[in-house]
């Protein structure tokens, strides 16, 4: 198992290296792009340009350029934004990370609890009215676009009913945990619910299908013939096997969301997270920031993948040897 984990993370490092090379090549070694001009900032004077060119080694061979770029990114942290001159890229990302993490972790807890609960309920109560009702609820969650749902939630909680039912809802924005867990959670409550609703629907549907398949498996019949209780059969045998694909999907979704895919939720609720940062950078074609966020996103997606694989091996003994 330890060997497997080491191998898996070794592979992840390799993938990260490959991604960084690829991103570097696409952003700064594409013919027709003057990388120095992209890094020096808007309306930079020739002196600055020359200085950037020397410092990033744009007159030297590509491998050296790559190494210098990584040094500026990860060691000296002095890559600056193209649009807002003087704003350092890396600290900006580091500041945005806790916002995104807070949003995604909270939402993930909610959607896993809801999704697994609903899926198990529907799968176990198949043939009764509970199943279609729960699934209808799930479809409802899946079919509401996040930006629309977010706007509606804002309209109701911030405007229409803000003076009555929802007077306790704080204004949009993010409050760090250091200012009190309560305020932090209160500010994130509706973003959490909005983001979680979509995923809860998807996960419930998926788990229900897996569970129904599992309940028809021979091993469940064996478990019944052993004289186990229905509850134990459901949880220990059927659900345990059904959770394997759910966990791997969860890892991928979680990685992607932390990597910036929660963009819409962040924009709608005014949360200054990584998604929002990427969104702004894209609008301004702020190449250094885009590169920073892309690498950051890649890091989380690859890390999540590796964690999922390790978890998968823990959950499913059949892949441990592979």
């Amino acid at each position: 198992m330890i060997g497997y984990i080491l191998r898996r993370f070794g592979a992840a490092l390799l993938v990260l290296f490959a991604i960084s090379v690829l991103v570097f090549l696409i952003f700064f070694a594409t013919p027709g792009v003057d990388p120095a001009a992209r890094i020096a900032g808007k309306n930079a004077d020739p002196a600055t340009l020359a200085q950037v060119r020397a410092s990033f080694g744009f007159d030297r061979p590509l491998p050296v350029q790559y190494a210098l770029m990584m040094k500026h990114l990860f060691i000296s942290h002095d890559l600056t934004s193209f649009v807002n001159r003087g704003t350092l890229v890396i600290p900006q990302i580091i500041e945005a990370v806790p916002v995104t993490l807070s949003l995604v972790v909270g939402a993930a807890v909610i959607w896993m609890v809801l999704g697994v609960g609903m899926g198990t309920l529907a799968g176990a109560m198949r043939g009764t009215l509970v199943d279609p009702l729960v699934m209808l609820l799930g479809v409802f969650g899946v079919s509401l676009p996040v930006y629309w749902l977010g706007e509606v939630v804002n309209l109701i909680t911030q405007k229409q009913l803000h003076d009555s039912v929802f007077s306790w809802v704080p204004p949009l924005g993010y409050v760090p945990m250091s200012e009190g867990i309560g305020q932090w959670a209160l500010h994130l409550l509706f973003p959490w619910l909005t983001l979680a609703l979509l995923y809860a629907g998807i996960y419930a549907r998926l788990l229900r299908g897996e569970l129904i398949n599992a309940l028809n498996e021979d091993y469940v019949r064996t478990a019944r013939a052993k004289g186990l209780s229905e509850r134990r059969i459901l949880v220990k045998h059927a659900l345990r096997c059904s959770l394997i694909p759910i966990v791997s999907l969860f890892g991928l979704d979680f990685g992607a969301l932390v990597g910036g895919a929660a963009l819409l939720t962040e924009v709608v609720f005014g949360l200054p997270g990584v998604g929002k940062l990427t969104y702004q950078a894209l609008q301004n074609l702020d190449l250094p920031v885009i590169m920073g966020t892309v690498l950051y996103a890649a890091f989380f997606v690859v890390l999540a993948n590796a964690v999922v694989d390790v978890l998968y091996a823990r959950l499913d003994p059949r892949v441990r040897r592979a």
């Binding site: 064996t222 013939a225 052993k226 004289g227 186990l228 045998h237 096997c241």
Partner: protein, 318 residues
């Protein structure tokens, strides 16, 4: 004659409009081996699943009486039935490859069954699992107890399943074609094992198979099924030496003979199985069918040898 351990009478199982088991009756005495034969689709598995209350298909109807040690199993509450399953009646299923939960070790699964019925510690249950695995012929059981199902071969899995079934010393073991999925050598070993275990534990066994050879080796009593009904019932001697039903004749003729004159070609029973609505279910495929076969023949006969056929006595020779 001792009281029967299990007495099934008029068991009927319907899936929607399809009758899979149609008025089946049989009994098993303590320590006896009942061989249930019949070709694929004759309702062998379904009837045994019905006995254990394991039919879960929505809309399935099970009726009749299944009396085990004086109690009607079909009338038991869920919790009472759970206490019977696995402890008093254990079942081994047809396909050992898929019968075990893939994510738990063999030992864990055996211990789970023991602990479902007896108040013993985890450690004691594990010790018992190791003992049982050794008993069914798994080499190095102290190590193999921690193996996962996918690390076992088909034959070893079947042994593990048998060990699990025996873990609570059941009075009745229902084995649904325990050797079909295995190669011939392993088959012989498993049969040997079952014979030995029966001698050691004294359990009665219902052995489902479509292999007459297996029945002739292990069974005391034989039940021949066709189209969801019993067509012949009797001791092994009676059924093998003086078979009375044309279907049984067909079954016996399709067994290759080891000794004696060898048939030039293995005869097959013509047609396909399946109840033909009304009348004797076998009539369509029977070489001897005549006018009386338009009605369902009852299972009758004397001295423990019963059959369901209208043929007059003088025509009962193959």
């Amino acid at each position: 004659m001792p009281e029967p351990l299990l007495e099934v009478s008029d068991l009927r199982i319907r899936f929607g409009g399809f009758t899979a088991v149609d008025g089946l009756s049989f009994s098993v005495r303590p320590g006896e081996v009942l061989g249930v034969v019949g070709e694929s689709g004759s309702g062998k598995s379904v009837s045994m699943l019905g006995v254990l209350g394991l039919i879960r298909t929505p809309g399935a109807e099970v009726s009749g009486q299944v009396v085990f040690r004086g109690r009607d199993l079909l009338a038991l509450k869920n919790a009472e039935m759970r206490a019977v399953r696995g402890r008093e009646i254990a079942m081994i299923f047809q396909d050992p490859m898929t019968a075990l939960t893939p994510v738990y070790t063999i030992g864990w699964q055996i211990a789970e069954q023991i602990r479902a019925h007896e108040k013993v510690s985890r450690r004691a249950a594990r010790e018992r699992a190791i003992e049982l695995l050794g008993e069914v012929g798994i080499p190095a059981p102290e190590q193999r107890v921690d193996a996962y199902p996918h690390e076992f071969s088909g034959g070893m899995r079947q042994r593990a399943v048998i060990a699990m079934a025996l873990s609570c010393n059941p009075a009745l073991l229902i084995a649904d074609e325990p050797t079909t999925a295995l190669d011939v050598t392993t088959q012989a070993q498993i049969l040997d094992l079952m014979r030995r275990l029966r001698a050691d534990h004294g359990s009665a066994v219902v052995m489902i198979t479509h292999d007459m050879g297996v029945v002739s080796e292990i069974a005391d009593e034989v039940l021949v099924m066709y189209g969801g009904r019993a067509v012949e019932r009797g001791s092994r001697r009676q059924v093998f030496h003086a078979p009375r039903h044309p279907y049984t004749w067909g079954l016996l003729d399709s067994v290759p003979r080891v000794r004696g004159a060898r048939a030039r070609r293995l005869p097959t029973i013509p047609g396909t199985p399946g109840a033909s609505g009304q009348g004797c279910p076998f009539a369509d495929r029977c070489a001897h069918s005549f006018a009386a076969c338009a009605e369902v023949p009852p299972l009758t006969g004397g001295s423990g040898h019963l059959d369901a056929c209208w043929l007059p006595e003088e025509k009962r020779t193959r």
